[in-house]
């Protein structure tokens, strides 16, 4: 049995309202842009409720595995193989629902820690500085019954109720604001009295500080009678610090070597682009920085703010980029091509090829369009262009065929520039993983470098005018380590 489903922003808003899961990853586009997902994500529980319809109404236990994010306005295929239900999109399984029987297994109990209590339903998600096994949280819960019924198209079943609660528990209570749900394993007991408030007890069973994967057990009760038992597995994201002048200065003392130089940084709002902008400013350059939607804090430039010009411009839009270049009076010494679309895993397959190609198109355009607009101003000796690539091109991750294709193409564009405009110093930066908002994943921070460190290394090369003799490699070994 198969079918298709497409979630809308209205569905997400309605589920947030019905479940009380107002986690900003689902409802706040600005917050979601600062996560690895790049945009708001459909509640896993909402996708799960859709899948449950295919499993049958008499399910007493279900395990839902949220394997990849579900986005609005994208088509997903629902497949029922007789036992499991899969939601497939972008060439991969994004959600799997499996009927389960028996009781939930429990890890060895950790000592209880004094419970936190929410006497009313939360409207703002909790933020935890620390998550410790044994932590307990209790509170009251009641969905908006009519809203939940409207979403599910029928009476609210215990499974719907339990999933709505699971979403609330993970997104609003623990891990709360920085949580991303990975799994709900639930067992259903007596149906609750309709339209009555419920109680819950959440307990942290396990927390891995390296990956920040957190497993909680939860019991939902109606008048002290268990209604459902859940095991929730979530990723508790980290706080990623934005680059600062102070941290740049740890790797590159302030100086004046770039005074009188004007540089365009395409994609300056965060991560490496933000760090490089600060590093260039710290050496006296005038920096024009473009951003798509997340406006950088001008205050981050501190005493150099008067030399920072910010432009909201889509790097793939020729008219917008032409306008940015028109605003740059006088010489343009260099351009940094750093903009890239949000990166989501794609398993290359016939059904996902169009998505992969779209990503590559956007990424190539984000380098090609600004370069074509800047070239007339760059076209003279001593000026330069930096193409931001990744060392992953030499060891491509399995689910990033689109990303690697795009970066390889951008390196090809650099090669073209070096060959046909030899007067422009051209360099490719094959950067290693960095601690940025985009690598705020269970393993993304491991072995990752500070963007300020790499930005400082690049600017030191610029200051020394240390251009390699071989085309488009920068520094000479092509990879900054």
């Amino acid at each position: 049995m198969t079918g298709t489903v497409r979630f809308t922003d209205a569905d997400v808003a309605a589920f947030a309202d019905a479940s009380h899961d107002h986690n900003p990853l689902h409802v706040d586009p600005a917050f979601a842009r600062s996560t690895p997902f790049g945009r708001t994500v459909v509640h896993g529980a909402l996708a799960g409720i859709t899948a449950l319809h295919r499993l049958g109404a008499d399910i007493r236990g279900t395990r839902l595995l949220f394997q990849e994010p579900v986005f609005t306005d994208e088509p997903y295929t629902v497949v029922h193989d007789g036992r499991r239900v899969f939601l497939r999109g972008r060439g991969q399984v994004v959600l799997k629902a499996v009927p389960r029987t028996g009781t939930l297994s429990r890890p060895p109990a950790a000592a209880s820690i004094t419970p936190l209590h929410d006497p009313t339903i939360r409207t703002r998600p909790r933020e935890h500085a620390e998550i410790t096994p044994g932590m307990e949280l209790t509170g009251r819960y009641e969905p908006r019954w009519d809203g939940l019924a409207a979403l599910t198209g029928g009476p609210t079943t215990p499974a719907h109720l339990a999933l709505a609660f699971g979403s609330y528990a993970s997104g609003m209570v623990l891990p709360g604001r920085d949580g991303v749900l990975a799994e709900i394993d639930l067992r259903l007991y007596a149906p609750p009295s309709p339209h009555r408030p419920l109680g819950y007890r959440l307990r942290v069973e396990n927390h891995d500080p390296r990956s920040r994967i957190t497993t909680c057990s939860a019991v939902l009760t109606a008048e002290e009678t268990p209604v459902a038992e859940l095991r929730l597995c979530s990723f508790a994201g980290r706080r990623v610090e934005r680059p600062t002048l102070d941290r740049v200065a740890r790797f590159l003392p302030p100086g004046s070597g770039l005074t009188g130089r004007t540089v365009l940084v395409v994609g300056c709002s965060r991560g490496f682009g933000a760090a490089l902008t600060l590093a260039l400013l710290s050496q006296g350059a005038v920096v024009h920085g473009t951003y798509a939607s997340s406006r950088p804090a001008a205050g981050a430039a501190g005493p150099h703010a008067d030399r920072l010009r910010l432009h909201q411009a889509d790097a793939t839009d020729p008219a917008a980029m032409a306008k940015v270049l028109e605003s740059i009076t006088g010489n343009l010494t260099g351009v940094v091509l750093n903009a890239t679309p949000p990166l989501r895993p794609i398993a290359l397959s016939s059904e996902a090829a169009a998505d992969a190609r779209h990503h590559a198109d956007q990424a190539i355009a984000a380098a090609m369009v600004p370069l074509s607009c800047a070239l007339p101003k760059l076209n003279r000796t001593g000026h330069w262009a930096l193409f931001v690539s990744t060392e992953a091109v030499t060891a491509p991750p399995a689910h990033w065929p689109h990303y690697i294709t795009a970066k390889a193409a951008i390196e090809g564009l650099a090669s073209w520039l070096a060959h046909n405009h030899a007067e422009v110093d051209t360099a490719v930066l094959r950067l290693p993983p960095m601690r940025t908002e985009l690598t705020n994943t269970p393993t993304g921070h491991l072995n990752a470098r500070a963007p300020e460190e790499l930005a400082a290394a690049v600017v030191r090369r610029l200051l020394r005018q240390d251009w390699p003799s071989t085309p488009w490699s920068f520094p000479a070994e092509a990879t900054i380590r």
């Binding site: 990849e68 499996v98 990975a182 891995d208 390296r210 994967i213 689910h399 393993t443």
Partner: protein
């Protein structure tokens, strides 16, 4: 020990059959980065070992390699 390793893999990856020694992230579709982290954490807890960080980030790691890593335990 190998049997328990297989049980953990079958549970976390929701497999119908035992994975082969040569299976790994490159052969099992659902063995994505999130599942991998959960597997590593489950094995560390079960066998009271701590894997080096490279295991957490490895794109290619097989069942046999995981078995070797927990062998001393």
């Amino acid at each position: 020990m190998t049997a328990r390793l297989q049980e953990i893999l079958m549970d976390l990856l929701d497999l119908d059959h035992e994975p082969a020694d040569t299976d790994g992230r490159h052969t099992i579709e659902d063995w994505n980065s999130l599942a991998h982290v959960r597997i590593v954490h489950a094995l560390e807890s079960e066998f009271d070992v701590r894997f080096p960080d490279w295991v957490l980030t490895a794109d290619r790691v097989t069942v046999a390699e995981l078995a070797e890593l927990i062998e001393p335990a």
